[in-house]
């Protein structure tokens, strides 16, 4: 299978991105002269520009669109206002996760779903399979490029090249027609880094222009950021990644995402399984942990207690902001109390760790 390129691929070459195969996409893991740690710090301290065009977009339209999106989504779609964005999960009847996604409401008969790149085909099949009368779904993933501008300087940079007052776009809201240097874009105040910032959707043919306009407007305050820092930034902010903290075998409740599961509202696919799981009590859940011994925990490393397997690491890495390794692990509920000592199996050796809480990055996103 040949690898896919985003419309911004020429920019990754121009800025000396180190290109890797990311789920079938040729994307930069980092840029020459920067590297993951510097790119990470740039986003925490100033601003970073990401190509996230590989993400999928699906429009749901029709008079029953609200009913349908509610049927798919764990979060409360009914209470959304026009131009609001919410995060939620699509679940299987088992309660396992099809995907996590952002839902953009234009009005009660038009929604935009933004889904994970690796799941686009699976998700779209799922959506079509569950479609109800009076609704249509269209996969427009190839009709949009997506850029993310993230970091404390993001608003000041973007404001230089748009007449729309960006203060009018609050956290988890969007404006579907923001002209950036004259080009119409969808702009939401959302992101995957724990910092303030924007996600920008634009026609593929204008993506390079917008990329360069942002870099020029930002000057020293912004640099391109690759997938390596995207992962370390999202992880430090404890934002879940599909395939690690959540997947078809792990429910949102087990992943600690109960806040995005509204069991007392409308019915959605998976609700009854999740109600049952909640009533019976969780048997395992995702916890934070710190290392006591030396070593870096990584995804899928086994977790043990007294030599017995109790689960596995979902994500672990050296956190650039804290300059030490931290992790998330899905483990047996009996060992999830903070302070519980556990072992992470690193290259066949048990390395001491401790279940912890509040060790992740305090998000700087603005809710008001």
């Amino acid at each position: 299978m040949s690898l896919k390129q985003t419309p911004l691929y020429p920019m990754h070459l121009k800025y000396n991105g180190k290109i890797i195969d990311f789920g079938g996409w040729e994307l930069p893991v980092q840029y020459e002269g920067m590297g993951i740690i510097k790119e990470h710090q740039m986003v925490r301290e100033k601003a970073g520009l990401f190509d996230v065009s590989h993400m999928g977009e699906v429009f749901i339209t029709g008079e029953k669109a609200e009913d349908f999106v509610q049927k798919l989504l764990s979060n409360d779609v009914r209470n959304m206002k026009d131009f609001q964005v919410i995060y939620g999960l699509m679940c299987y009847p088992s309660g396992g996760v099809v995907d996590d996604l952002l839902v953009y409401r234009y009005n009660s008969s038009k929604y935009l779903l933004v889904i994970n790149a690796a799941n686009v085909e699976k998700d779209f099949e799922w959506i079509q399979k569950n479609l109800i009368e009076g609704v249509s779904a269209s996969n427009v993933s190839n009709e949009y490029a997506q850029l993310a501008l993230q970091g404390p300087q993001a608003p000041a940079i973007l404001q230089k090249i748009t007449d729309v007052d960006l203060d009018s776009i609050k956290f988890f809201w969007f404006n579907p027609a923001v002209k950036i240097s004259g080009v119409e874009c969808i702009v939401s105040r959302t992101g995957y880094t724990g910092e303030d910032g924007f996600e920008i959707y634009v026609q593929p043919e204008d993506a390079i222009f917008i990329w360069e306009e942002i870099l020029q407007a930002g000057g020293d305050m912004v640099s391109p950021v690759g997938l390596g820092a995207r992962d370390s930034l999202r992880f430090e902010a404890k934002l879940p990644l599909y395939g690690q903290e959540i997947d078809q075998e792990i429910t949102p409740l087990e992943a600690g995402l109960g806040f995005f599961v509204k069991l007392d509202t409308d019915d959605f696919i998976g609700r009854s399984a999740l109600l049952k799981q909640k009533a019976e009590g969780l048997k395992r859940k995702v916890v934070e942990f710190s290392m006591i011994g030396k070593g870096i925990p990584r995804s899928h490393y086994e977790v043990q207690k007294d030599g017995v397997s109790i689960g596995q690491v979902t994500t672990g890495l050296h956190a650039p902001t804290f300059k030490k390794p931290i992790g998330l692990a899905l483990i047996n509920i009996d060992y999830t109390e903070p302070g519980t000592q556990i072992d992470i199996i690193i290259r066949d050796k048990a390395v001491q760790a401790v279940v912890d809480s509040g060790i992740f990055y305090q998000k700087k996103t603005k809710s008001k």
Partner: protein, 127 residues
């Protein structure tokens, strides 16, 4: 790509600087560059007897885990403990910061290693 003339190189991107019975060894500029930001080094134990190409340590960057293989057989007589606290030194100066010193038992191991010229050609082929 920096490839000093006086060192010998492995196909796994380790270098060794031989001085009589002793060999200082480390990772090459190519290795540190491809690993990216190095955040963890697991050193061999002093006194450990190692065979050529045996795993003697681990280098981890933010994204990757790489095994360190011994360029030659012998006994580990010293390790650079500074790297445990400051693994980024391997990015900053991969030839100035050796990882371990091996007391060589068999110099014939060295005959299989590459010269700087051969290693430069080898790396070029990988690109």
């Amino acid at each position: 790509m920096n490839i000093p003339k006086k060192l010998l190189y492995t196909s796994e991107h380790e270098w060794i600087r031989v001085d009589g019975e002793k060999g200082h060894c480390g990772i090459t500029d190519y290795a540190q560059h491809h690993l990216g930001d190095i955040v963890f080094v697991e050193l061999p134990e002093v006194g450990e007897e190692v065979a050529v190409a045996e795993s003697i340590g681990v280098i981890e960057s933010v994204k990757a885990v790489a095994t360190l293989f011994s360029p030659a057989g012998g006994k580990i007589i010293e390790v650079n403990e500074e790297l445990e606290e400051a693994p980024e030194l391997l990015n900053e100066d991969p030839y100035g910061n050796w990882i371990a010193i091996i007391e060589l038992t068999d110099h014939s191991d060295l005959e299989k290693l590459m010269s700087a010229e051969a290693y430069a050609a080898f790396c070029e082929n990988l690109e």
